[in-house]
């Protein structure tokens, strides 16, 4: 099969899967839906491998292939084909997305088994994978916006999956609306780019860009800043990030797949995809890099104090994506994408392991209530340790190499990038601390009631389930959180997928060992061959220093966490009291939700109420409508009869006219 056939199959399998599951939602019993959903994604992944083999057999200069199925929208100066662009970058994304998705589908087969919405879950999940693959394969700006919007929709559906919970529907609409703001950014950015180049096809746009715009041309700077709005909204970067922690309302596999490994990295992909434009719009690139750096620090500080297990990982995701955004904005594409890949492995792993813990806790996510799971959940614990070490950047785990690669790329460029370099290492220290704070609190210390119960050989069940978000009684009729929750230790499909990811998180770094393999850089070269920064000569001294600093900071962070939460319990309370002000700031998430509510949500709601209650009544119904009517009515009875008489006469005249018209036509014919 040809490269393009393979690539279209990559898209076709998940779509077909989702349609089959949707249509068959009533007839599919047992775990059939899980099997169908998982196989669809596995087939998509295998097609991706086929495409990879086919692509690598081509000469390097012809490794960017566009394939179009039909004309989507063609009018005026716009020529939109239903087309995909297959090149190393899009294919790397395809493999990461489809690969990790396959494992998460496998995990979900068991994890979501007791849920009444089992089929619906896999239908949504397949639809999400299709959307995400559409996004990364899109061959032109319009289809990119289509994929961009569709993943937002899929994400909304999955965040609100347990839609009987008001917290879930609120989180869903919040995520969706912020993502629509991002969509608007993409749309306006696309319009600006089309205005400049007259093209929608990505490769044509890239070819024309250098001829149309000079460096920092205001038009392309504006265009790229608009694209950044989209990237920041989707990738949960400050100040568009507030939806991501709330998105943890979704089932844990969703958090692993969409809100860690794939969708939230779309912004990174976008900047890398659009690199020919961002390289011209250097101001926009700098804004992106600074935004990433700010996010990585802000998110890490919140991660230090947050007490919800999944939200710790969510803030960590924000922070890690900050690294990637910083990298690709600064032109360090290879490293940014390398980190995207390793992060997908270890972050999905951490979420899956967290799901296992939450299973053991019967839905409870509060770290304050957890403890002592180490002995009773050895597989989960092991996965947490592997994922945690990779996240903290401890050699030889994958995260160590990718994070170091980013910071090396920044340091090599010198200048003000040193500030980003330092921010990266400060973030690295905090990362190690919050990661192991989470691990030590959940797995070490005195066993909690749930861990005790597990030690006695039974999974804990609560007598009544309350929504951890707002304390309302849960409707268990929909199957969640039901009596049959799952943990990795008792579900092979969960432990297998976690095991595979644990291996990848451990050894994933080998594809880009500095000085040794560099496989990823070589592979990506056809996409980035036009980039002057790609494959910049490496300063080996800096590399060695960076690696040492990275490893030391990671270990130091773990040591600090151990001292505070294991060796001397109570230290954290003392620190909180000592640094009350920063603690307040961090634990209130830097007040972003409050600021946005104050600046945007409340004014809009108030304006809506004002329009509805006051303007409609006083101006529209009163002055404009009732005024003339009441004048007419009040003047005299004569007027009144004239008015109603006229209405009748008017209506009658028209009907008579119509009748005459028919008659006339009949006579004419």
């Amino acid at each position: 099969m040809s490269l393009t056939t393979y690539s279209w199959l990559v898209l076709a399998f998940p779509l077909t899967g989702s349609i089959i599951l949707g249509l068959g939602h009533k007839v599919l019993k047992g775990k059939t839906a899980g099997a169908i959903g998982t196989s669809a994604i596995l087939l998509s992944f295998l097609s991706g491998l086929g495409a990879l083999r086919s692509l690598q057999s081509r000469p390097e200069e012809s490794r960017q292939v566009v394939s179009s199925l039909w004309t989507y929208a063609q009018t005026g100066g716009l020529d939109v084909q239903f087309s995909i662009l297959v090149d190393p970058l899009s294919l790397l994304m395809v493999l990461v997305v489809a690969g990790v998705s396959t494992l998460i589908h496998l995990y979900s087969v068991a994890y979501i088994a007791s849920d009444e919405g089992y089929v619906r879950f896999f239908a949504y999940l397949n639809f999400f994978v299709f959307s995400m693959l559409m996004l990364v394969l899109a061959g032109n700006l319009i289809l990119l916006a289509v994929g961009w919007g569709l993943v937002g929709a899929a994400s909304y559906l999955l965040i609100s999956f347990w839609y009987r919970r008001n917290t879930a529907t609120k989180a869903g609409i919040k995520a969706f609306v912020i993502n629509v703001v991002g969509d608007v950014g993409i749309v306006l950015g696309a319009i600006v780019i089309i205005q400049g180049t007259g093209a929608v096809d990505l490769l044509t746009v890239f070819a024309k860009a250098p001829q149309v715009w000079h460096t920092n041309d205001p038009q392309i700077v504006v265009g790229c800043l608009l694209l950044l709005v989209g990237a920041f909204a989707k990738s949960a970067q400050v100040p568009f990030h507030t939806w991501l922690p709330d998105a943890m309302e979704g089932p844990t596999p969703v958090s692993a797949l969409i809100h860690a490994a794939t969708m939230v990295t779309a912004g990174v992909y976008l900047i890398a995809r659009m690199h020919p434009l961002f390289q011209i719009a250097t101001t926009a690139s700098d804004v992106g890099a600074i935004g990433g750096a700010v996010t990585l620090l802000v998110a890490a500080t919140i991660g230090l104090v947050v007490t919800d297990l999944k939200r710790v990982i969510a803030y960590s995701t924000m922070s890690q994506i900050g690294y990637m955004i910083m990298a690709v904005s600064a032109g360090v594409y290879g490293a940014g994408l390398f980190h995207l890949m390793t992060h997908a492995f270890f972050k999905a792993l951490l979420f899956m392991a967290a799901g296992s813990v939450i299973g053991a806790m019967a839905g409870e996510q509060n770290l304050d209530r957890m403890g002592g799971f180490r002995k009773v959940m050895p597989i989960t614990y092991g996965c947490f340790i592997v994922g945690g070490l990779a996240l903290s950047g401890i050699p030889p785990f994958s995260g160590f190499f990718s994070k170091d690669d980013i910071l090396l790329g920044l340091g090599t460029q010198g200048g003000w990038y040193w500030a980003l370099y330092v921010a990266g290492y400060v973030g690295a220290l905090m990362t190690a601390i919050y990661t192991f704070r989470m691990i030590f609190r959940a797995f070490h210390g005195e066993p909690c009631e749930e861990a005790q119960s597990l030690a006695d050989g039974r999974l804990f069940h609560a007598a009544e389930h309350r929504n951890p978000g707002d304390g309302t009684l849960e409707d268990t009729g929909v199957g969640y959180p039901g009596a049959k929750h799952h943990i990795a230790e008792r579900s092979p499909s969960m432990s297998i997928s976690m095991g595979v990811l644990a291996i990848l998180a451990t050894i994933g770094g080998v594809i880009q060992l500095p000085k040794v393999t560099n496989t990823l850089d070589h592979f990506l070269h056809p996409t980035f061959s036009d980039s002057p920064k790609f494959g910049l000569a490496i300063d080996y001294n800096l590399m060695a220093i960076g690696m040492v600093i990275g490893a030391v900071l990671g270990l130091l962070g773990i040591y600090i966490a151990w001292m505070i939460w294991v060796k001397k319990p109570g230290t954290s309370a003392r620190i909180q009291a000592r640094f009350a002000l920063p603690y307040k700031l961090f634990s209130n998430k830097w007040y972003f939700d409050e600021i946005i509510a104050f600046l945007i949500v409340r004014p809009f709601a108030a304006a809506g109420r004002f329009f509805q209650r006051t303007v409609e009544r006083v101006v529209v119904d009163g002055a404009i409508t009732a005024g003339p009517i009441s004048i007419a009515r009040a003047s005299s009875a004569a007027v009144r009869s004239w008015q109603s008489g006229m209405l009748r006469a008017y209506a009658a005249a028209v009907i008579v006219g119509a009748a005459l018209l028919v008659l006339y036509l009949m006579l004419q014919a």
């Binding site: 989507y72 009987r164 749309v187 709601a605 509805q612 028209v654 006219g657």
Partner: protein, 504 residues
């Protein structure tokens, strides 16, 4: 002749049913609806796209002393709208036939009259003929609200009459003036053929007041803010299937009127009032959206959303660009289809919530009604112009046209894009999700309910896969419609990269 048949078929079947009695009225009406749809689709398939231009033309001098022609035609501008009207009419007739109706003979007669009038307005190529049909199409709806409506029928009818009468009379006067003044200005016989009038433009001063009269009638009909005072009561009291026809196609006649008449006949005036109409459009978008996310009435969410969506259509047209007009035309069709689905879904939701259309009395039904949940979701996503829907393509083209023409308007209009997400999802969540605290009836869509809704959903999905068939046919005429006004306003109607480069 085909067009005269198409135009008269709904009316004729309605009339026949009214005459032949209660037993035959339903079958005849359904036959009329499906026949109209079949005829319209047949015409669309036989329309030679490669040739383009006006086809199936009928042109007879009708009232000789006044120079009024019975002139009908199909061209790229009205083709899709004619099919849309036939489609909506067919869906509505089917929906009506599946429920009990008081006094069905008169009911279906009025419905058919309404559909014929709308078709006539879309097909008319004579200015007076257009005005006649435009006024005629309101008459059956006065009666439909007055007799079959609920709630404050009298108030609703009064408001509708006052508003639309004012607009209609202005338009009638303006139309007569256009013909008379053109004749005297150029020393010819009075003639109302639109194509003839277009060749002989009026002086700029005259154009301006005539344009404003037409604009007033169209803006009331759409409706645009602040001329929407009649909408709330009329929407509230109209029977739901009637509302689907009303909201689905009548507002489009007004928007179409701008493209068909106001821009080509009065280009200088359109250019000088461009900012005013863009302002009204943007106001409608923001204000309509704000009303839509503060109302608890499911029906009014659809109504206020229409104000916002027609605001988008208005700014698309008055961007005076080819893309904007194309987007506006596409969006008229999309909005018509989506509205039919949404209005009928409101009916289904209300039937599950003890007849209440208040969002506060709904909720938690998705679990028991998964098909309804999916159908509503598709319609809701299309209405908020979710990327991948044809509505997105329409909105994109509108925004692009406006961005190229008057950038700041496009930026403000983007607020409407985000607000649409808020009001549509808010309505969806409150109707479908959340805990089942109101004890709604957990019953999925029945076949009877699904029959008129599913075709609309299928059409939404089909257009999502390829909006191109619509765009292809309307490209030429849409561009031609804006060119005179664009020239007068000094705007390049077909924005190209080179043009944009040249300007800088």
């Amino acid at each position: 002749m085909e067009l005269t048949l198409l135009l008269l078929l709904p009316l004729a079947t309605g009339l026949l049913g009214a005459v032949l009695g209660n037993r035959l009225v339903k079958p005849l009406a359904v036959l009329g609806g499906l026949g109209t749809l079949g005829l319209a689709v047949g015409l669309a398939l036989n329309y030679d796209t490669a040739l383009g231009g006006s086809q199936f033309t009928v042109d007879k001098l009708w009232v000789k002393p006044l120079g009024i022609h019975w002139a009908l035609t199909i061209d790229g501008l009205n083709l899709a709208l004619v099919v849309l009207t036939a489609f909506v009419y067919a869906s509505v007739v089917v929906a009506c036939a599946l429920r009990e109706q008081e006094n069905p003979r008169l009911f279906y007669f009025h419905l058919g009259l309404g559909a014929s009038a709308v078709l006539g307005a879309f097909l008319a190529q004579d200015l007076i003929l257009f005005v006649l049909f435009f006024d005629l199409m309101l008459v059956p709806f006065y009666f439909l609200v007055g007799q079959w409506g609920t709630g404050d029928r009298v108030g609703a009818t009064t408001k509708m009459v006052i508003y639309t009468l004012a607009g209609s009379l202005l338009m009638l006067a303006a139309a007569v003036a256009t013909g008379a003044l053109t004749a005297s200005h150029h020393g010819q016989h009075v003639d109302f053929l639109i194509s003839n009038l277009q060749r002989l433009p009026l002086g700029k001063g005259t154009q301006q007041w005539v344009f404003l009269c037409f604009a007033a009638a169209f803006l009331v009909k759409m409706p645009a803010v602040p001329l929407h005072g009649w909408l709330k009561d009329a929407y509230k009291s109209m029977p739901l299937p009637v509302l689907a026809l009303f909201s689905g196609v009548l507002s489009k006649v007004a928007a179409y009127g701008f493209l068909k008449l106001a821009l080509p006949l009065f280009p200088d005036a359109a250019a000088s009032f461009q900012d005013l109409l863009l302002g009204i459009g943007v106001l409608s978008i923001v204000y309509g959206s704000a009303l839509a996310f503060t109302t608890n009435d499911a029906r009014l969410v659809v109504g206020y959303s229409s104000i916002a969506q027609l605001g988008f259509i208005l700014i698309g047209i008055f961007s005076l660009t080819s893309d904007g007009a194309q987007g506006a035309l596409l969006q008229m069709v999309n909005h018509g289809i989506v509205t039919v689905a949404l209005v009928l879904i409101v009916g289904v939701l209300a039937s599950r919530a003890k007849g209440s259309e208040d969002l506060g009395s709904m909720g938690g039904i998705a679990m028991g009604a998964p098909v309804l949940a999916v159908v509503f979701l598709i319609a809701a996503f299309a209405n908020l112009a979710m990327p991948a829907s044809a509505n997105f393509v329409g909105e994109f083209l509108i925004l692009k046209g406006v961005f190229d023409s008057v950038t700041v308007v496009a930026v403000i209009a983007c607020l409407g894009v985000a607000m649409a997400a808020v009001y549509m999802l808010r309505a969806y969540i409150r109707a479908m999700h959340g805990p089942d605290t109101n004890g709604v009836e957990q019953r999925d869509l029945s076949l009877r309910e699904a029959l008129p809704i599913l075709p609309a959903i299928a059409l939404i999905l089909a257009l999502a896969l390829s909006p191109q068939p619509l765009l292809k046919r309307s490209e030429g005429p849409a561009t031609a419609a804006v060119i005179p006004a664009a020239k007068a306003a000094n705007i390049d109607p077909i924005q190209t990269a080179t043009a944009a480069q040249g300007k800088r």
